[in-house]
Amino acid sequence: MVYRFSVGASRYSFNDLKDLLAKASPARSGDCLAGIAAETYAERVAARMCLAEVPLNRFLEELLIPYENDEVTRLIVDTHDKQAFTEISHLTVGDFRDWLLADSTDSISLKRVAAGITPEMAAAVSKLMRNQDLILIAKKCQVITAFRDTIGLPGRLSVRLQPNHPTDDPRGIAASILDGLLYGSGDAVIGINPASDSLPALMNLYYLVDEIIHRYDIPTQSCILTHVTNQIQLIEKNIPVDLVFQSIAGTEKANKHFGIDLSLLREARSAALSLNRGTIGNNVMYFETGQGSALSADANFGIDQQTCEARAYAIARHFSPLLTNTVVGFIGPEYLYDGKQLIRAGLEDHFCGKLLGVPLGCDVCYTNHAEIDQDDVDTLMTLLAAAGVTFIMGVPGADDIMLNYQSTSFHDALYLRKVMGLGVAPEYEQWLKNMNIMNNEGQIQPVEPVHHLLQGMSNHLLTFKAPIEKV
């Protein structure tokens, strides 16, 4: 269907709903690269004005990719909760923004309608919003999950401890884990991006983190970010896999590019559940996403990158993950060019994820060929913390020596907790206090060289070899 809109003497027309969404999107290099962005400032605003008048119902009628051609579309349509939708079904996209902002719309109402919101509706309404709207509404959404600790409670900010090493050296990884633990990070997950994808090397990493978690009785979980098929194989070998990781994107074709489909994710989830390793909850999945992934796989079908991204959250939502991470600046300047685009994208992703009911965290990050620096990271992570982001990354000194990009650090998490008055996951907080890493006021305190984590772990680091013998 063609959408038409007039502003004064200028008449604009948009070929279809996805064209309208693309033209209404705040400017970013990825949509320009795809050739779908608005050509003038005025066209962009006209598209927004036009979009504001589109009824939410329209998104259930005009699918962006035909139902027959795309399993993500089928998932979105087939799992749409009409009962939950009833409450907002009479609204246009513009009304929907007003409804979301209304004081009478609280955490409970947002939770009630979440399953009735499709990712396209979430993306559409976000395009009408200022950054402050994205923050205010996301802050009202509560998404709480659990495995060995509780993630997403109000007033808490969790951290994924990311102790990567370029050759997966267990001692190097353990040293970074220790650094993070002593800075109070790691309550979301201890998640390693391995350099190798050989099964024996991956097994080493699982044993290493499992041993640390169990030796010190840490209320957290591990994850090795390798392909989901590797993780299924390792689960079959009874390797201690806590969370199953996979990168996901918003179209079937883009997921195919990652070597996955929905049935593989289903298989992975039931494999992880079969190990029954969670103590207080069974959210066993960890997903990563990022704007631009569909376009980079030539699988965006003319849909703007932010809408594609929101569609990935529909997949995440379906598998009840413990954590979902938008790796916002990793993809490079051809998708998000500078700090302004990065900040906008991070807030949009967090908003859309939370609105859909996904426990969204953000890897606030950048590569060295983007026009972004640590000041932009500071701005975005502070805004996200204000918006109630579920978790951020903790990388030693913000410098990932394996993936060669910059993210957020253990120090950054301490800064956010201090400035925004945020705590860690409650079970983890208790552990930090028991370990004398955190004082009663919730501040991280220096530890003596004789601290038993330091003593025990140092010896452990030097003698770590058990898994090697199993290779």
Partner: protein
């Protein structure tokens, strides 16, 4: 007059762990934030990585250097006229500009009855620094390992190049195998890392799945000799099996040696 003390930093008591990793651990804290020294150290690393991306490769100097080593050289340029368009339009970096295309077509004509086995392209990629530092010594190692019956054409130095630019170059020159040496996206700890990409029967439209990659070639990464041996092993296998990419797994003995070394190191920590 009252004397004031220097502000107190919290020094982390696990300094010895720095020996296990180059990650920025045990940095200490001013309050809960980074001490000034660590902040500036990080900022300098970022500045160097930024320079590696934005400083242009000195093509003339590299060409002269390589000619002195006995290589013949062709200079080409991608469709990206400058760094900004290179960064925003990856597709431009994957295509030759018109003049470069004509130039290589002419060479192809001149050697029409001669089969060129191997074409090596040196591309600036995202780090001119890595090309400046590692291209020459790596090429020297590769040359040493090339089987006698193979023919190595000119070394093509490509400016504003992405990996896939080698496909067009290789196709124009009728290469059986094209090899791209290209500057990796710089990291803070390694602004000068180089990668090798190898494609059998290169043609425009080859995908990443058609290529084999050897990455992380730098002073603290993969040594030139190992990289060159791996590459020639892969190239020989590619010729033998008439394919490259995901179907061709790197099973070279050099890799086994490297892995064994790593295991030994783990079992017997220094």
């Amino acid at each position: 007059m009252k004397k004031f003390d220097k502000p107190t930093l919290s020094i982390d008591s696990w300094q010895q762990l720095k020996g296990f990793t180059r990650a920025r651990i045990a940095l200490g804290r001013a309050g809960s934030s980074l001490p000034t020294k660590e902040l500036l150290d990080f900022t300098l690393s970022h500045a160097m990585a930024r320079d590696a991306v934005h400083l242009a490769l000195n093509v003339a100097a590299l060409a002269q250097d390589l000619e002195e080593q006995g290589f013949s050289i062709q200079l080409v340029h991608s469709k990206a006229p400058d760094r900004t368009s290179y960064l925003l339009r990856p597709d431009y970096g994957r295509q030759l500009d018109q003049q470069s295309r004509r130039q290589l077509q002419a060479i192809k004509l001149a050697t029409a009855f001669d089969s060129v086995n191997l074409v090596i392209v040196v591309g600036d990629g995202l780090s001119s620094l890595s090309v400046e530092r590692h291209a020459k010594p790596l090429l020297t190692e590769i040359k040493k390992n090339i089987p006698e019956q193979w023919k190595l054409g000119s070394i093509v130095i490509a400016s504003q190049a992405r990996v896939a630019l080698a496909d067009e170059i290789g196709e124009l020159l009728g290469a059986d195998i094209v090899i791209m040496l290209i500057g990796e996206r710089p990291g803070l700890r390694s602004p000068d890392s180089l990668s090798i990409y190898m494609t059998y029967a290169p043609r425009v439209g080859c995908s990443d799945a058609d290529r084999n990659c050897i990455s992380n070639i730098c002073s603290e990464g993969l040594p030139y000799e190992t990289a060159a041996k791996k590459l020639i092993w892969l190239a020989k296998e590619a010729i033998r099996r008439k394919l490259s990419g995901v179907a061709l797994k790197d099973e070279s003995s050099v890799q086994e040696i490297a892995v064994t070394d790593q295991l030994k190191k783990l079992l017997k920590p220094e």
